[in-house]
């Protein structure tokens, strides 16, 4: 494959957006978790929730900053590398992104300042409102960006200007609530909550294994396994819903996901296989035949295989096929962790180190794995179009030179490698070291009237419990 400006721009977009999505996926869930903790603290007055809040807000601050800076990049990518796409679709999805800034970004960014630095300036209730504003902001933000992306998957409510070839909206309601939007929004929100729960579980498990767990550790473990056990089944349902919509509107994507090469009334479920795009078959296929009537009960008539599409209209099969299986696999493991954790909780063994805890620690990465591979399925599965069936990726590219894109891709890779490494180390240090630092309030603080400070919410991350260096 020749590395031209097109393929480099695609790589760059894939890289910067995959990097970016890590942080919103985590902060959407974490903002909700923080709002729950602070709400529970105000309601029950139990110290443990305040300690949870003060602990996780430090990680939130780091993750949010990384999400913001990598997000600014995204708002310029459309123009720098995909300017023809921007020119053609601006009148349709531009307003959606505009609304995202107006209704979500300012809300999040502004109240984050109060959340992090406002302890001494506002009362507890107002501080709680600030936390909720940030949490709601993240949700609204996801709403608009999922809507815009879903319109690219299942465009609706538009027409094309005969003179310029530009898209314009005929009905904005149909644009926003395009066919794939509801299922994909639910799917992404659940993914964010699940990702965060897996991280919180991993951090708790680490503390249990290292024998420095405390009351907040025990709470966060229970909250996390409960969330996983409840949300993962819902997520499987949401994922299936999303698949049914794709089946109706993007059959080529579904054929690639399933590894179906031939159109047929009844299709198998392929568990394993290596799609061979040249010979249009799967190598070393392991399949359960005859499952499609159960998995797609609403499908009428035959189920399209990749042979129903011209070669130039097919997405890259191998990537979509395998990304989907990795996503599903990661989800299944998280479901198992959630159920297993609940069983241990019920049998009062969740606070004793065991195999579960050792597995839950690397399990903290599974949410991110599932989110990224899931987005790969969605975006690569949409190829070779940017606006499905309407605008080809190769016709969306900006007039940029290969050299320029190569430069920017290298710079982004270096910059992101540095900040990702540093950020992950700093977050992991805070997450794993436990709650000792926040435990006792200095006496002078206890005499203050309600509504006064909870104390500084930060301290250096490089010292571990009791001031010693953390175990690496």
């Amino acid at each position: 494959m020749e590395l031209d400006a097109l393929i480099l721009s695609r790589l760059q977009f894939a890289f910067v957006i995959a990097f970016h999505i890590i942080f919103p996926a985590f902060t959407i869930g974490l903002a909700a978790f923080l709002a729950v903790c602070e709400g529970l603290w105000l309601w029950t007055k139990r110290d443990v929730f305040k300690r949870l809040y003060l602990h996780w807000i430090k990680i939130f601050a780091l993750a949010f900053a990384m999400g913001v800076v990598s997000g600014v990049v995204m708002s310029y990518q459309f123009g720098t590398n995909w300017s023809v796409f921007a020119d053609k679709t601006g009148s349709v999805i531009g307003p959606l992104l505009g609304y995202e800034v107006l209704t979500a970004f300012f809300l999040e960014a502004t109240f984050l300042g109060v959340m992090l630095f406002g302890w001494k300036r506002v009362g507890n209730k107002l501080h709680f409102i600030a936390t909720c504003a940030v949490a709601i902001g993240t949700t609204i933000s996801a709403f608009w960006i999922l809507s815009a992306n879903s319109w690219m998957q299942t465009p609706a409510g538009f027409a094309i200007d005969a003179e310029t070839g530009n898209f314009y909206a005929t009905n904005f309601w149909d644009v926003v609530f395009n066919p794939s939007f509801p299922s994909r929004y639910v799917h992404m929100m659940l993914a964010a909550f699940i990702t965060t729960a897996a991280v919180i579980l991993a951090a708790g498990a680490w503390q249990v294994v290292r024998h420095h767990e405390e009351e907040p550790t025990r709470w966060q473990m229970r909250m996390a396994v409960g969330t996983l056990a409840v949300l993962m089944p819902l997520q499987i349902w949401a994922g299936h819903w999303s698949g049914e919509v794709a089946h109706e509107y993007q059959p080529a994507k579904v054929a690639a996901i399933e590894g179906w090469w031939e159109t047929s009334e009844i299709q198998p479920t392929i568990l394993f296989g290596i799609p061979d795009e040249e010979n249009e078959r799967n190598i070393a296929e392991i399949a359960i035949p005859g499952t499609s009537p159960y998995l797609f009960p609403n499908a009428e008539g035959e189920l399209k295989g990749l042979d129903a599409f011209a070669e130039e209209d097919r997405p890259p099969v191998f990537i979509v096929f395998w990304a989907f299986r990795i996503m599903v696999g990661a989800g299944m493991v998280m479901l198992a962790l959630g159920i297993w954790g609940c069983v241990l909780w019920w049998r009062k063994r969740i606070d004793k180190p065991g195999l579960f805890h050792l597995l839950a620690i690397p399990g903290g990465a599974l949410g991110f794995v599932a989110v990224i591979t899931g987005w790969v399925v969605a975006e690569v599965g949409r190829q070779p179009f940017t606006v499905y069936g309407q605008l080809r990726t190769e016709d969306s590219l900006a007039p940029v030179s290969t050299g320029q894109v190569a430069t920017s891709l290298i710079i982004f890779m270096v910059v992101y490698a540095i900040i990702f490494t540093a950020g992950t180390i700093y977050m992991a240090r805070i997450a794993t070291r436990g709650f000792q630092d926040d435990a006792p309030e200095p006496p002078e603080r206890e005499h203050r009237a309600p509504g006064t400070p909870l104390g500084a919410v930060d301290d250096p991350a490089e010292t571990g419990p009791h001031g010693r260096k953390p175990a690496e």
């Binding site: 600014v72 300017s83 020119d87 609304y99 001494k120 314009y168 900006a398 430069t407 900040i419």
Partner: protein, 346 residues
């Protein structure tokens, strides 16, 4: 009555960019000033003055970029590829300085701490310079063919754009220094005044140079102002002359405030400096209006469909006042001198 939506959106985006310059420009200026801090304490105090608000300030840049995409897709599609490299430079710099806000407090080992302090300073400086290069490249105009950019990758790099880049960076330092005058006391404030004075001299020289250079960029600009090195048309110049004159008067007033010869309230240097920026901005608007891609595409040619503009106009009419109210509320919440003990870190 028919609303001229492209005009309204032109004004809205111009306002967003202006607010970005006044707010995040001040942030970036403080970032540059941290490079000259005498101690870690001073540096921490400087960053503490902006930590609660920088994120909101930077959001105006997203509104500028996102708004341009939404309201003027054609302009966005032409300008972004034209400024590919300086935009990249700006983004990389903003990434480094953005995370450095948090990371410099997480690092306690000396090399990592120095690294993130450096990232904050160089990131702020580079972002300011890159924005100046983009502005300079924008003012001098870009090559367009059909509906896309048709120039070279380095078209933006000229002596003029370098001059504008230096001016923007110095201007941001002035805003940052004035913000420190407002938010700090004692020795730190005294040093901020001194640095502010140096920056003010730089601003006076640079803004004058940029103004004169802009007049010779394109005959249409000269025509509009009725002023060139060899000829003056008073009929055109006089009605516009208050814009640069007010800038000059404000410069003198900021100087008076910063030297401390008169007892000025601490907020005044910042507000008056913002006025200097505003006069420069208005001067630019007069020179370039109604072009959104100088001197090729105007706001009506670049505008999105009316229904898209209308939908966003409704949203902006409702949301912008709300945003301004809560932004104002958060600024007022953190009003007053920054308390070293209250700094979120340490």
């Amino acid at each position: 009555m028919e609303l001229d939506l492209p005009l309204i959106w032109g004004l809205l985006i111009a306002t967003a960019v202006m607010l970005y310059v006044l707010l995040d420009g001040m942030d970036l200026g403080i970032g540059i000033l941290t490079g000259f801090a005498k101690s870690d304490d001073e540096r921490n105090l400087m960053t503490a003055t902006i930590e609660p608000v920088w994120d909101g300030n930077e959001t105006w840049l997203i509104l500028g970029g996102g708004g341009l995409f939404a309201a003027f897709p054609l302009a966005y599609a032409i300008l972004m590829p034209a400024f590919y490299l300086p935009v990249l430079l700006m983004l990389a710099a903003l990434i480094f300085r953005g995370v450095a806000f948090e990371f410099r407090h997480k690092a306690v080992r000396r090399p990592t701490k120095l690294f993130w302090n450096g990232a904050f300073f160089y990131g702020s400086l580079t972002a300011a310079l890159a924005q100046g290069l983009i502005l300079g490249g924008f003012i001098q105009g870009v090559t367009v063919e059909g509906r896309s950019f048709a120039g070279g990758a380095l078209d933006w790099l000229t002596p003029f754009s370098v001059l504008v880049a230096v001016s923007v960076a110095i201007g941001y330092v002035l805003l940052g220094a004035c913000w420190l005058v407002l938010k700090t006391e004692g020795e730190v404030q005294r040093r901020a005044r001194n640095r502010g004075k140096i920056a003010l001299v730089g601003v006076a020289v640079c803004f004058a140079a940029v103004s004169l250079a802009t007049l010779s960029i394109d005959p249409r600009v000269t025509e509009r102002w009725g002023f060139s090195m060899t000829e003056i048309e008073f009929g055109k110049l006089l009605p516009l002359s208050p814009i640069p004159l007010i800038g000059l008067v404000l410069t003198a007033l900021v100087w008076r405030d910063l030297t401390g010869k008169v007892s000025a309230p601490d907020w005044r240097p910042y507000v008056l400096s913002a006025g200097i920026f505003l006069s420069g901005y208005l001067g630019l608007a007069v020179s370039l209006f109604p072009n959104i891609v100088p001197f090729e595409v105007d706001i009506w040619q670049a505008a999105a469909r009316d229904n898209a503009l209308m939908l966003m106009f409704v949203g902006a009419a409702v949301m912008l006042p709300v945003i301004l109210i809560y932004t104002g509320y958060v600024y007022s919440l953190f009003w007053g001198k920054v308390d070293p003990d209250e700094a979120y870190h340490d």
